[in-house]
Chain length 275, copies 2
């Protein structure tokens, strides 16, 4: 099944646009996990089990696993999701990008080794660098367009003939790169006006929106500017605000409470939109 159809099914069945990001910072793991052989996996497993009925996707961030020499625990985490929650898509947040032959290796890393349903990629190297990912027609390729950080403007606002780079990326994604109907974009919640412009460019293409919660993005503005006419079209991603909602023995319940609150806040805004 194509990624976009998996995602549409998850949106509908879960009644949620919430994506929980798994960014397991070793310095912030609850103390009681230190006795486990695989504390990063145990943390991820507990978060996944506590929030799986509330989300449309999980998004593990590979940098946290790589820094900790814990690729095995990333594999275990994704296997756990696949086994117990097979209807929930897994997005590997890796922001990969390289020339053709190397990009093919990164595609294998994401889709074959880790069995992810989708991966985030960086468009700086141009279209041919994305092709090895796009060729996996049932996988999702989520292209960075407008990132959530303050410095996003440095490069992404470069303007040519009145069109800024992030707008050009959105146009290329919608017109040139999406032959397999497997392209999505990343647009930060911290830039609602840009989200509106990009939605106008890409039609109903799904958009992954990081930056609510710890980074300060506003949920109502994201929905107002980014939702499609049917009140979907978005994966609204939160990591730290969910993962570290609590730090004691009840950290998983605290994460669930934070995820529930955010899912409901999102759905309330969807209703307000007439969804």
């Amino acid at each position: 099944m194509k990624f976009i159809h998996r995602l549409e099914q998850a949106w509908a069945a879960q009644r949620s646009l919430l994506c929980v990001g798994l960014d397991p910072d070793p310095a912030r793991l609850p103390g009681q996990l230190s006795s486990f052989a695989h504390p990063i996996f145990e943390f991820g497993r507990a978060i996944v089990d506590a929030t799986a009925d509330l989300v449309c996707a999980f998004k593990p961030q590979i940098a946290y696993y790589a820094a900790a020499r814990a690729e095995d625990q990333l594999e275990m985490t994704i296997s756990h999701i696949r086994r117990h929650y097979p209807a929930i898509p897994v997005i590997l947040d890796a922001k990969r990008g390289d020339v053709g032959s190397t990009a093919e290796m990164y595609a294998r890393e994401a889709f074959e080794r880790y069995q992810a349903d989708a991966v985030t990629v960086n468009p700086y190297l141009g279209f041919d660098s994305l092709q090895p990912f796009l060729d996996h027609e049932n996988k999702g390729v989520i292209v960075l367009c407008r990132t959530s950080n303050p410095g996003a403007r440095d490069v992404q606002d470069i303007a040519s003939d009145g069109r800024k780079l992030y707008q050009l990326i959105a146009e290329k994604a919608a017109r040139d790169w999406n032959a397999n109907d497997n392209v999505l974009l990343v647009v930060g919640a911290t830039y609602p006006q840009e989200l509106r412009e990009i939605r106008a460019i890409v039609g109903d293409m799904p958009i992954l929106v990081p930056g609510v919660g710890a980074q300060g993005g506003d949920v109502a503005a994201v929905l107002a500017n980014g939702a499609t006419a049917d009140g979907t079209g978005l994966l609204i991603s939160s990591s730290r605000a969910v993962l570290y909602a609590g730090s004691g023995a009840d950290y998983a319940q605290a994460a669930r409470a934070a995820a529930l609150k955010l899912r409901d806040e999102i759905n309330l805004c969807r209703k307000f939109q007439g969804a």
Copy 2:
């Protein structure tokens, strides 16, 4: 010691601007390695041992190791270089880029876990995404500027006020990002005219130049357009043309012969430049 000084010492002591890239494609490894417990490491070790006196740096490409679930063999390869050839800098080719807190994890991956001397990074997310790398003042941060692939033009040629994106990246690298004197750039050998422009912008900043050999870049043009006045300033990187020069039992000797030929070809052009 700062990376740039390690590099200058290697240029002088080795009399070489050649960087050998380690891109161990499992499909192309010599057959006799299949009986080893760690064939990817054995391949890298043999290439390193056969070429260490000919190079100014080694550049392992992490994608090949990650696709093969062989991060341990990447660690072993880098440890081998450090132990036996401590004067040769190791560049981790990873093209990482993410928002601040995640970028810090990628910096740890490269500099702490793998003990690399330098890492390649992608500037699409802007200056604040590079800062966690730049803060490691003794490490090299090699920013993608003009990549070697045909599609490089898609994004990197976007022009604003007559200045193209790759020119802007070069300007920012030279003026704004280099407070710790630890920034380098990537410029593909396949774009000699752009290399000339970028050299004019960045002064003596070292430039990593992939794309000679398999990708068709011309050595003489690279030296003529990219060398500094003293005949250095470049790391001219070759991967496949060296690694897969032979495929039989003598693959390491074949790699050495290819590396020797390329090093000498480079040095001949340097002499021609008056170096």
